[in-house]
């Protein structure tokens, strides 16, 4: 993984000193709250319902054991001994005191971490495929370019006061595991064809996002030679910064501009800007690219046998292990190794919450078996990207001890949920208790296995931090005359077949949501052509009608018109 050099260290240290000074000036009254707010947001500090929340950047979701241990220490020392992994591959601490924030930032800086631009109307932490560098279907490791973007976007002087926040995601693989279609800019590494044969470049998508006006991103550039990434991003950002709406916070994201202009006109403006931009002064010099890329060189792994007798034996004798192996352990690009997903979605627990002890346990596993690397997924889980198959049993046993061995990756209980009204000042309704109730309803793992791949996402308000629009089943908390109600959408997808779910009908009170989900799952199971037809495929084939009828009853026949003259 990337390691800071002296320059990076100096940068983060200066930033901590700057923020310490800004906090002091706020306390001295030299900065009003209005003037201070964007500064603290750009350092990851939110004022929430009960306390300040500190959002720590985990660049493209990559952590070392040492960093994860430090996060555990920080959570224990200055918070309540746990953290919450977010859908932006970050971690949030929900009970921060303003006066502790500079010390927490200094502790993060010790392990090459920061909170820079995890909030505010600026370029946020860039996210990437959590299997980057180890996935068998990868064209090129996107972490190199994610790190390039991290550096380029850090205190970019032109783009700190954008109309609204700006999120970039990258994938370098055939399968999109980074939900690039739901980002302000989504980047997919591709092999060039025709004139570009032999080159690697980016397919650039723009204007995706969830929130109150969800859009799937549109294609902006079919092939951008990778060496021009930064100048192209700068051109697109400049068009957005100058022309994005600033009169209405709800219409200020780039998706609104792109869809108002149309993809063709937006593209024309970006290309015109890009043509005028002095590319050599912005694009990364090849030498600097090489310097960064070296940190992401593939691990030198001795090839191992792709089957292991001890694993096979345990699988035959232990159904829990077999399920975990099937659902959470994925193929690695090197024979004899596996990608291990660690679920933070044990039914009944808060999705994405990790105690300091759990963080330390994962850090220890990564050190002992995982080449010191951990990834955070946008589904709020962790990943050990490189574990030898022969070590998988030992890893499982250690995970069991720490309550982290739930075998439900991308199944119905692997629920994405935002913090909701339990913490968030924007929320209309709670998300966590609903997620817990649904997960407990589906606590029987055999039932979950039988349902098969199913993404269920919950947001506590229309801002959609819980990605409800892209859930195969989406649940949105709404405030209906002072009570928390939940609207259900079906058919969303965050992947290559990205789609926004459709609203099924009137909302339900919280206590009726698990029944409604069970009814929906029942319709799917009764209607699927075979066990291999996924929920999403079946829904697309069957349409919303049978689901609506099961939930709300058959539609009343339209009032019959009485013929004239009778």
């Amino acid at each position: 993984m990337y390691r800071y050099d002296e320059f990076d260290h100096a940068f983060v240290t200066s930033r901590v000193a700057q923020f310490r000074d800004q906090v002091a000036r706020r306390l001295a009254g030299d900065l009003t709250e209005d003037q201070f707010k964007p500064l603290r947001l750009q350092n990851g500090l939110y004022l929430q319902l009960h306390a300040y929340m500190l959002r720590i950047a985990i660049p493209y979701g990559v952590l070392s054991s040492r960093q994860l241990r430090q996060l555990a220490m920080i959570a224990r020392t200055w918070d309540r001994g746990f953290g919450h992994f977010t859908t932006r591959q970050n971690i949030q601490l929900n009970w921060t005191k303003l006066e502790d924030a500079p010390a927490m930032l200094a502790a993060l800086a010790e392990v090459e971490m920061h909170c820079i631009q995890t909030s505010g109307n600026c370029i946020r932490n860039t996210t990437a495929d959590p299997y980057a560098g180890v996935a068998p279907d990868e064209i090129e490791d996107p972490r190199v370019w994610a790190e390039v973007i991290r550096q380029w976007s850090s205190i970019h002087p032109e783009f700190l006061f954008l109309p609204r926040k700006f999120k970039i995601a990258l994938t370098g693989a055939a399968e999109d595991r980074a939900a690039i279609a739901f980002h302000d800019i989504g980047l997919r590494m591709v092999k060039g064809r025709g004139d570009n044969a032999g080159q690697i470049g980016f397919q650039v998508f723009v204007g995706g996002g969830q929130g109150r006006t969800p859009y799937v991103a549109l294609l902006l550039n079919d092939f951008l030679p990778r060496e021009h990434l930064l100048s192209f991003l700068e051109a697109a950002m400049r068009v957005y910064n100058l022309h994005g709406r600033r009169d209405n916070i709800y219409k200020a994201r780039i998706k609104i501009l792109v869809n108002a202009l149309g993809a063709d006109e937006f593209r024309r403006q970006v290309m015109a800007e890009w043509a005028k931009i002095e590319k050599p002064s912005i694009d990364l010099p090849a030498e600097e690219y090489q310097r960064i890329a070296k940190y992401f060189a593939p691990l030198q792994l001795a090839t191992l046998p792709n089957d292991d007798a001890a694993v096979a034996k345990r699988r035959a004798s232990d159904a829990g292990f077999a399920r975990w192996l099937r659902n959470n352990v994925m193929a690695h690009k090197v024979a004899g190794y596996r990608i291990v997903n660690i679920s933070f979605k044990e039914p009944g627990k808060v999705p994405g919450d990790a105690s300091s002890a759990q963080m330390e346990a994962v850090a220890a596993l990564a050190e002992q078996y995982g080449h010191d690397e951990i990834r955070v997924t946008y589904q709020q889980n962790l990943v050990l990207p490189t574990v030898a198959l022969k070590d998988v049993v030992a890893v499982y046993d250690a995970l069991v001890e720490n309550g982290l061995a739930t075998g439900n990756t991308e199944l119905i209980t692997d629920i994405i949920a935002c913090p909701g009204l339990d913490y968030c000042s924007l929320a209309n309704a709670r998300a966590i208790p609903v997620a817990q109730a649904i997960a407990l309803r589906f606590a029987n793992p055999a039932v979950v296995d039988d349902i098969g791949p199913l993404r269920l996402n919950i947001s506590g308000c229309i801002n959609a931090c819980g990605h409800h629009h892209s859930g195969n089943i989406g649940i949105l908390g709404v405030d209906k005359k002072g009570t928390e109600h939940y609207q259900i959408t079906l058919g969303g997808s965050p992947k290559d077949d990205a789609e926004i779910g459709g609203i099924l009908g009137p909302s339900f009170p919280a206590e009726e949501v698990p029944d409604a989900i069970e009814t929906i799952v029942g319709v799917y199971k009764a209607g699927r052509t075979s066990a291999s037809e996924t929920f999403l495929a079946a829904y697309r084939r069957m349409g919303a009608k049978p689901f609506k009828e099961a939930l709300y009853g058959a539609p009343k026949p339209a009032a019959q018109r009485i013929p004239e003259g009778v």
């Binding site: 970019h156 050599p280 002064s281």
Partner: protein, 188 residues
């Protein structure tokens, strides 16, 4: 009983003080800004609106004084037809410090239009944004925010000296210290 109205302007001088900061210190502002209804002054550097610059350019140039343009962040400047090269100064307003359009406009002027005159920020110019403005190509600042004036008078700024972006780096005429990676600087 008639209520006595409160006195206006409790701190008239202190609050209304406005100073021009450039080249690392406070400087006298030699320019006079005029709106379209005001006749052009004689023998003094003048700042005119875009409308006047476009419609009465000959008259403005006939003054034979340095000319400044009061830009509008929503108006598209055309480097050729607007003859930006004949301007000594372009003034970019920050109506609110959170409105970041001025940064992109300055970058355009410097990097795309090759404007080499003075770029001046007015409006809500605060100590924490001033270094960002410098890096985008601004070189003078009209400041009326008390704590910002005091900080600058005391020689205090608020910047992270290490910068990852080379594009604007080195162009700003500034006494603030900025540094970048040697490899990035060499590429400039």
């Amino acid at each position: 009983m008639a209520r006595r109205s409160p006195p206006l302007n409790v701190f008239p001088r202190e609050c209304e003080m406005t100073k021009l900061w450039k080249n690392g210190g406070f400087a006298a502002d030699v320019f006079v800004a005029v709106d379209d209804a005001t006749p052009l002054p004689v023998a003094t550097p003048v700042i005119v609106t875009l409308k006047r610059w476009r419609e009465a350019r000959a008259e403005v140039l006939a003054l034979a004084v340095p000319v400044g343009l009061a830009a509008d962040v929503t108006a598209a400047l055309d480097p050729a037809s607007d003859e930006l090269g004949r301007l000594a100064l372009i003034v970019i307003p920050f109506q609110k410090f959170t409105d970041g359009r001025g940064y992109s406009l300055a970058r355009r002027l410097r990097d795309e239009f090759g404007f080499r005159g003075e770029i001046r920020a007015t409006g809500e110019v605060l100590i924490d944004q001033l270094p960002l403005m410098l890096r985008c190509g601004f070189d003078s600042f009209v400041i009326s925010h008390g704590p910002t004036l005091r900080a600058l008078a005391a020689g205090q700024t608020s910047q992270v000296p290490e910068v990852y972006q080379t594009a604007a780096y080195g162009r700003a005429r500034t006494t603030l210290r900025f540094a970048t990676r040697p490899k990035l600087a060499a590429a400039e």
